[in-house]
Every structure is written in C-alpha cells, then in structure tokens.
C-alpha cells in the first residue's frame, strides 16, 4: 500500500506546525530573557481570605478591606473558597499569599481546625495572621481574633425569643450552617443559653443545616415543618437562612405573627426583613469594621509596630422592630443606618 494521498497536504501542514512551534519557542526565549523582574514595590501587601466570595457579609468585608487598604496605601490581595466549606481552597490561598509576600493575612476560616497547619507555616515565616469573624480552635492558632462575640449574638436573640414567647408553649426549630462551623456552634449555643434551655431540650423539634444560604435553608425548613408543623420559634444562623426559611413557612400557610424568627448578621436585606416583620430580631455585627481594623493592624505591624494579639470585639447590637421589656435593643432605623450589604 502506498503512502497516503494526503502526503503532500500533510507535509505542508507539518511545515506550518513547525513554523508555529519555532515561533512560540522563540517568543518564549525572548520574553523570558527580556523579562525584567518587576521591582518589588514598597507597598504593604495585605491578604484577605473569606469562606466564599458571594455571601453579602463577605462581600462587605472585602469592600471594607479594600477601602482601608487604599486609604493606608496598601495593596489588598483577595481570595475565597469555592464554597463555605472549601478548606483546601483556603489552604492554597494562604500559601500563595505568603509567596506573594503579604505582611499579614486576614482570614475567616472555613473550619475551626483544618486551616491551622497552613496558618502555622505562614506565621513561621513572619506573617501576621488575624482571624476575622470565625475563631480557630485553639484560638492560639492565629495571632489575633477580630470578631463579633458570636456567642453573645446568640444569647441576645435567645433572650429576645424567650421574652417574645413568654408563657406560651414553644416548639423550636434551629437552622445551622454546616458541621465544623465554629461561628455556627457559638451562635447556636448562645441562643440556647439566652433562651435558657439545654442542647437536647424536648422543646427543640428540629435541627437542620441550611449552609447559611437561602436556597438550602428553604428545603431544610420545609422538612422541619413536615416533622413538626407546630414550630413557633425559629433560630437561624444568618439572615439569608432566615429568608429561605420564611419562604418555607409562607408556603406552609404560616403568618409572620405566628412564628418568632430570630437571626444574626444585621445585613441591610436582613434589617429590611426586620422592618417588614419577617424577622423579629437580629444581632447586628459590623464586618466592615472587622476588615478595616484588620487592615490597619497589618499596616501597623508592617511599619514596625507591634503584632496584634488577643481578641478584639468588633461590636454587636440587637435590632428589633418591637422592643421587649428587659431585652435592650436598637431600632430598625439605627439598624438600617449601620447595616452592610
């Protein structure tokens, strides 16, 4: 059998390929040779790593960090996990930021423990690591923690829910984030404390994971209602979760007045829901402040100042439309003036 009829065409194509290949190789050689390493700028680099990049809380945190960085003349490098439990993504981001030469990393850890090894390596290289919002376990894994007291956030809304349902028979549902979420555990336990009950109290009809997201919280609440339709107190990890649960309640024919819903965050959408009577009370926190304090701490450290350490409370207020006796709270107006998102 002879050689293919396409022989000529193939040789031609081969020449084209070689030409392209040679060009590419030449381009590579030339550009690498000409590559002048960009001068290491004197600007301070600050890393920010959030759980995911879409939650409004983290969006606000990112914006706050950007503002603070440009004010201080620093450069912010931002990264986030693919979803709120993407540990590997956060570890990779830590390593890359250390290589990028950041002076400090601000991180909301996806897991209380899973990032500790990578954080330890970063600190060993002299990088200041500050946990924002979510504490690590142990807390000594990072240099400092800038956060809302999440336990107190839970206590506030627990007390409010107790006062709102005084003297009534309560059936409680709790929508958590996901397993291993340190913030979730703190808020959850704070709520129980504020409400004055234990983890396995019989009044708790349902505990489910909504991932802190509206789309996952709705089916979680639907299933809770299926389990016990009499639910009249609802704790949610955050306001998107409360919004998802509310859709489920509405579809089940419940009225806002029939169920006491409490939440945490104080985002603008959440506060508006308080105004609309969907959420009865929420613990407002201040991510912008966390981020700007964090950036400032890193810049101070980079300029020869001391490392930040310990726990810094970034503040907390209970926002409620209907103030209740014995439970201090701020108005919706205040909440809207100080909200984020």
């Amino acid at each position: 059998m002879r050689h293919p009829q396409g022989g000529e065409r193939r040789t031609w194509r081969f020449r084209l390929f070689t030409a392209i290949l040679v060009l590419v190789v030449m381009a590579v050689v030339v550009s690498v040779a000409a590559a002048k390493p960009t001068a290491t700028s004197a600007t301070v680099k600050v890393g920010l790593i959030t759980k995911d990049a879409t939650n409004p809380f983290f969006v606000k945190m990112h914006a706050g960090a950007n503002q603070a960085a440009s004010k201080a003349g620093a450069q912010l490098i931002y990264a986030a996990g693919k979803d709120s439990s993407d540990n590997a993504g956060q570890i990779t981001a830590i390593e890359n930021m250390v290589t990028a030469g950041v002076k400090g990393i601000l991180i909301t850890v996806a897991d209380a423990k899973a990032e500790n090894a990578a954080i330890a390596q970063a600190r060993a290289k002299g990088v200041l690591v500050i946990a924002l919002d979510s504490p690590t376990s142990p807390t000594s894994a990072v240099d400092a923690l800038f956060a809302t007291n999440n336990f107190n956030a839970g206590v506030f809304i627990g007390k409010y829910a107790r006062a709102a349902t005084k003297g009534r028979k309560v059936t409680i549902a709790m929508l958590d984030e996901h397993a291993g979420s340190s913030v979730g555990a703190l808020r959850h336990n704070g709520f129980l404390k504020g409400f004055g009950i234990k983890t396995n109290d019989k009044q708790i009809a349902c505990v489910a994971n909504g991932g802190g997201q509206q789309t996952q919280s709705q089916p979680a609440m639907e299933n809770c209602l299926q389990k016990n339709p009499n639910i009249n107190v609802l704790y949610t990890i955050n306001e998107p979760s409360a919004a998802g649960a509310w859709t489920a309640l509405k579809n089940a024919g419940k009225k806002p007045s029939g169920v006491t819903i409490v939440s945490v965050d104080g985002g603008c959408a959440g506060v508006r829901n308080v105004k609309a009577g969907i959420i009865d009370a929420t613990s407002q926190q201040y991510p912008l402040r966390m981020a700007s304090l964090g950036v400032a701490a890193v810049v101070k450290f980079a300029n020869g100042g001391a490392k930040a350490s310990g726990y810094t409370d970034t503040g907390l207020n209970l926002i409620a439309k209907k103030p209740l006796k014995g439970v201090p709270s701020k108005s919706v107006k205040y909440g809207l003036a100080n909200c984020w998102g």
């Binding site: 193939r10 081969f14 390929f17 070689t18 290949l21 590419v24 381009a27 590579v28 550009s31 690498v32 590559a35 390493p37 960009t38 290491t40 680099k45 990049a53 450069q75 912010l76 490098i77 931002y78 990264a79 986030a80 693919k82 979803d83 439990s85 993407d86 540990n87 590997a88 993504g89 570890i91 990779t92 981001a93 390593e95 890359n96 930021m97 290589t99 990028a100 030469g101 996806a110 897991d111 209380a112 423990k113 899973a114 990032e115 500790n116 090894a117 990578a118 996901h178 397993a179 291993g180």
Partner: protein
Amino acid sequence: MGPTRTLQLARRLITAPTVGPFIALVLTMVFFSLKTDRFFQAQNFSLVLQQVMIVGVLAIGQTLVILTAGIDLSVGTVMALGQVIMTKLAVANGVPVVPALLLGVLTCVGFGVLHGGLVTGVRLPPFIITLGTLNIAFALTHIISNDLTFTGLPKLELFWGRTFSISGTDFTYGVVLMLVLYALAWYGLNQTAWGRHVYATGDNREAARLTGINTNRVLLSVYTLAGLTYGIAAWLLIGRTQVGDPNAGQTTENLDSITAVVLGGTSLFGGRGTVIGTLIGALIVGVFRNGLTLIGVSVIYQYLVTGILVILAVSVDQFLHRRNG
C-alpha cells in the same frame, strides 16, 4: 533515510496530544514571570506542585477511567471517605496507624472494584454508577465521622505533608509520591501490554473484544487501580490539611480531576490521551491559581480562564475525533 526519520519524529512530536497543553503551560508561566518576580522561583514551583498534589493523584485514576471512555464522578467523595476512615480509626477507635491507613485505602479500592463490577457485569454507564457512589460515599463520610473533624493524628498519617530541603528549597514528600505515581502510570500505559489493552478497550470495546482482549478484565483493573489512587490521595490529603475533615473533597475535587484530564488532551471519547498530559493539565490550573494570587488578582479569574481552556481543549479533541473517525 536520516532526514525523513527526523521529519517523522518531529511530526509525531507535534501531533502528540501533550504538545498543546504543554505550550499552554509554558505561555502561562511566561506570562506570570513577566508580571511578578515572585513567580519564577524554585520555592514557588515547589508550592504549586504541593497544591496540585491531591487533584494530581486523583486525576491519574480519572485518566485511566476516561481512557476507557468512562468517567468517575465520585473521586472526591470516595477520597473523603477514605480519609475519614483513616483518621477516625486512628484517633477515635484506637486502631494502630498502619491498619487504619490500610483500611482507608482498601475502602477506596472497594469502591473501584464496585464500579468495575457494575460496568462490566451489569453493563451500566459509568456516569450513572459513579453518580450513585458519589452520594453513597458522601453519606458514609458524614455518618462515619458524625460530622466531626479529627485532629491529633499519628505521625505516619501526616507523613506526606512533611518537607525536605534541596539547596534551600523545601519539597513535600507527597509531591515526590505524586511524581512517582505518574511515572508508574506512564510505564503501565506505554510499556506494558496492559496499557495497550486499556487504549484499545477505550477506543472500541467491541473491537478490542474481537481482537481477543479480555475487555472485562481490563475495565475491572482500570477501576480498581483508580480506586487505589483515590485511597493514596486520601492519605496525601491528611498530610496536607493535618486533619480528618468530613467536609473535604466534595464537588471541587471531582470536577478538578476531570478538568485536569481534559486540559491534558485526553479524549472523553476514550482511547486517546496521556497521563503526562494530565499532570500538565493539573499544573495549568495550579499555576493560574498561584500566579493570579501573586499578582494580586482575585482567584475568581482562575475559574474563568479554566472554563475557557476546557472548552478549547474539548473542541480540539472533537476536531481530532472527527478527523480520525
């Protein structure tokens, strides 16, 4: 004879499926070298390798499966299950570390055997089988771990995360293991009869059977070996995160392993591709993630670029597929 031979060699080199991905990788590296002086450093390359190590090892198994015209959607969750078994047994159940590791690896191998058995015995499509086992492994991970993160692990479980130093650059032992596994996979696919049979089976299962190849045995071996790589990846993952984490390896690793294989020029139609290409594919993703952070660009752009490259790679594959029938 001389010139024509060289010509042929050059042509084979150019039409080799790894050339495209390789050029893409080189261009990416040139780009980041130009943008920042922190990129082109031995320490940074070691870092990128360390970051692709887990997906890289998973992608070896995925390459084998895809070469036989299959797909495995369960890689990440099977790995997560193996990891939780390894750590839970050692920490919570007091099992000595070696049996704990072995049981973890064996669990993953067991999933591989299950996949292979269903593909050959019941002749179910791999997509559906592994969609099922994805959920099964996910559930088992959370049931077995009781949603707890395991810490305080024995040293041997953390071994692959340890580093050694060559002239000032730190390398992770896990990276070495990954490279060894790639070498072994290359040897098996290119230098043994088994490798030929994998390609032939993937290209056309019925034709391979008619040629006298025991295609069922080939497929079973491929899925079993793939399970083994997931087990090894589980151990690497523990070394990297230093914990046993039930939330690990969910959707990200599954899709990333397929991305690496596709970017590496392996055909989703089966029968064409290389394991070295897969390594390059994994590195492309890793270099983008690393480089973008180094130049201070949000990691989100990595997904944008990866998406474009995947579509490009599949288009080239489709074109070659039509041409070669």
